[in-house]
């Protein structure tokens, strides 16, 4: 039997439950890996996702024209690829939306053609004259 040398490609800390298992991603290369150190199925699923395609929900603000406040909090309606966060932030920074706005309104549709929308996180009224 051949003994293949294994490296730890990455260490992932599971955030699914408070135990916070340290999950090792082991393999010779990035395409052939095994996971070690998880204690439940959810942890394994999290580690797999986090290793291959880490995603995050982005929450930030967007400038508002004519609202009772100068900014409205917004979020991505689905988790976004971590590597795209910066680009999305830049697009949002350059945009200005108009009041009145209702929570859930789509303010940027299909951002970067990823099938993800930027939606409003609250209602915002128009500034009274």
């Amino acid at each position: 039997m051949e003994e293949t040398s294994k490296n730890v490609v990455k260490l992932i800390r599971c955030i699914v439950c408070p135990t916070g298992c340290s999950i090792k991603v082991i393999g010779k290369d990035e395409n052939n890996v095994e996971f070690e150190g998880y204690h439940c199925k959810r942890g394994l699923e999290y580690a797999e996702q986090e290793f291959r395609e880490p995603k995050r929900i982005l929450t930030t603000t967007m400038k508002v024209d004519n609202g009772t406040l100068p900014l409205i909090p917004v979020r991505t309606d689905k988790p976004l690829l971590k590597e795209k966060l910066k680009d999305v932030l830049k697009i949002i920074a350059q945009k200005q939306t108009k009041a009145p706005i209702k929570m859930g309104d789509v303010l940027i549709e299909d951002i970067l053609e990823m099938g993800i929308n930027i939606i409003a996180s609250r209602n915002l009224e128009k500034k009274s004259a």
Partner: protein, 497 residues
């Protein structure tokens, strides 16, 4: 500036402003130059705020006599200028029997020099009744009922406002760079302006020696001596009396003292330093004052501290007299140039007496001092939300809605008081200016709630964008830009031409 002022005062601390106000009754043209963004920015705003009854120094020191005289003048000034002040009395505390003799001697000297009401109290029960927080180790106190506490910066604002009401011009952000003299007229050059005057009063605090040297008078130096303080929440400790330990040669010692606004502080220590801009507090210093304060008040609520700060005393070394630590109030050899330097403790107490002396010097210099017909010594008491009854408040808000918008929760300060602080003569132009005039940010949340509102109000009233609102002048901005500015800058930087 083409006006030739009769009197130009360099320095907008309590000394300079008190001189300005005292002289403002006369038909003369007066100006005050202050290097910082606001008056009362130096030693004036960072001291113990004590109006001493007498002063424990040798009778050869003029500061002793000016102190005793100055204390008496506070009563009339208080009636006229309406600044926060109360004569609550002080204890010099003896913790050992052998210290009682010192207290007896001080009492005797004080009575001889005209300090009224001095009494030696050895009855521990009576002492504790008068000041319950005092340590059980007390064996006796020297009680001076004419001692009091004042808000030194609010006093300075009152002085300046009254002076301005009576015609004195104030110029802030004016740092004196050079002084020339030609044909009995002084030309005072600042970074962007020139002022002319027949007489100059040098009340420049820590920089008085520097100013004096500009006219060739190089006979004294000012050495900064740092004093650190810790301020405690008024709910945690309430003191009746000002508590002094037995003083040393170097300083009056570490006091535990009530403030006029109901808080308590401990401090100051005394550390000679060289950097005149070093108003930092230190770990060792804060420990020193807590330890020192605990000798007088064992249960100092260290966990209830609101703030720590430090001030620098302007300690004079007079080489002509080889004397350290006495006021230098001289009608100098440079005709028309009066030094008012080294005004360390009891400078605050002495301010009105010092102004009297300067008045005398100006008379000797031949300046004609005729009283104005329309001189008004009264500076009305600033209206405070907390002083009104419920009925009065209701009426006031209906007359002016800015009384009803509370900006500072901790101290209950409405927008109106902030607007008054900004629009008063020599009014606030900075967040600290607002804070020191009407208190938002002095409470237990230290501006946590009110800071954005105060910045907004200053921005609106001064017609400047919020990013330009400062804490206390140049380089002390709070905000660096609008929320998306950094991201947009990064985008612009990355974008190829």
């Amino acid at each position: 500036m083409t006006t030739i002022f009769d009197v130009l005062i360099i320095g907008g601390g309590v000394t300079g402003c008190c001189i300005a106000r005292t002289l403002s009754k006369y038909k003369i043209n007066i100006a005050v130059l202050e290097k910082d963004a606001d008056i009362a920015s130096g030693t004036t705003k960072a001291n113990s705020g004590v109006v001493h009854a007498g002063y424990a120094s040798s009778r050869e020191y003029i500061r002793r006599n000016l102190c005793i005289r100055g204390n008496k003048l506070y009563s009339q000034a208080y009636e006229e200028l309406n600044f926060p002040f109360i004569r609550n009395g002080s204890f010099v505390v003896a913790l050992e029997d052998k210290q009682i003799k010192y207290l007896e001697e001080e009492r005797k000297r004080g009575i001889e020099d005209g300090v009224s009401g001095l009494e030696l109290i050895l009855d521990k029960e009576k002492i504790k009744y008068m000041e319950p927080n005092l340590t059980e180790d007390v064996v006796g106190v020297l009680h001076a009922p004419t001692a009091g506490i004042v808000s030194p910066y609010e006093l300075t604002f009152a002085l300046a406002e009254n002076a301005a009401m009576n015609g004195v011009s104030f110029f802030r952000n004016e740092k004196v760079k050079r002084i020339n003299r030609h044909n009995y007229v002084f030309k005072v050059r600042t970074s962007s302006n020139e002022y002319k005057a027949h007489n100059i009063i040098n009340a420049a605090g820590l920089y008085a020696a520097k100013i004096s040297k500009m006219v060739g008078l190089d006979y004294f130096d000012i050495m900064p001596r740092k004093g650190e303080y810790i301020l405690f929440d008024r709910n945690a400790l309430h003191l009746n009396k000002i508590l002094f330990p037995i003083p040393t040669k170097v300083s009056k010692g570490i006091l535990v003292c009530p403030t006029i606004h109901g808080n308590t502080f401990v401090g100051p220590n005394a550390q000679n330093i060289t950097d005149k801009k070093d108003i930092s507090t230190t770990e060792a210093g804060l420990k020193e004052i807590l330890d020192g304060g605990r000798l007088l008040v064992p249960n100092l609520p260290a966990r209830a501290s609101i703030r720590n700060f430090a001030g620098l005393r302007a300690v004079p070394y007079n080489s002509l007299e080889d004397k350290i630590g006495d006021f230098i109030i001289d009608n100098t050899d440079v005709y028309g140039f009066i030094n008012v330097a080294g005004i360390l403790s009891p400078g605050l107490t002495s301010c009105f007496a010092i102004a009297e002396r300067v008045e005398e010097f100006l008379k000797l210099l031949g300046l004609e001092l005729k009283v104005k017909e329309n001189y008004n010594p009264i500076r009305p008491k600033p209206e405070r939300f907390k002083d009104f009854s419920k009925e009065e408040l209701d009426k006031k808000i209906k007359e002016d809605p800015t009384w009803g918008r509370i900006i500072c929760r901790c101290e209950t300060i409405p927008e109106k008081e902030i607007l008054d602080a900004i629009h008063a003569p020599v009014g606030a132009r900075t967040v600290d200016g607002v804070k020191f005039r009407c208190r938002p940010g002095m409470g237990r949340c230290q501006g946590g709630f009110c800071r954005p509102r105060v910045i907004e109000i200053l921005s609106r009233e001064l017609y400047i964008p919020p990013e330009e609102v400062t804490k206390r002048g140049e380089y002390t901005n709070f905000l660096v830009g609008a929320t998306k500015d950094r991201l947009i800058e990064n985008i612009e930087r990355e974008e190829p031409e």
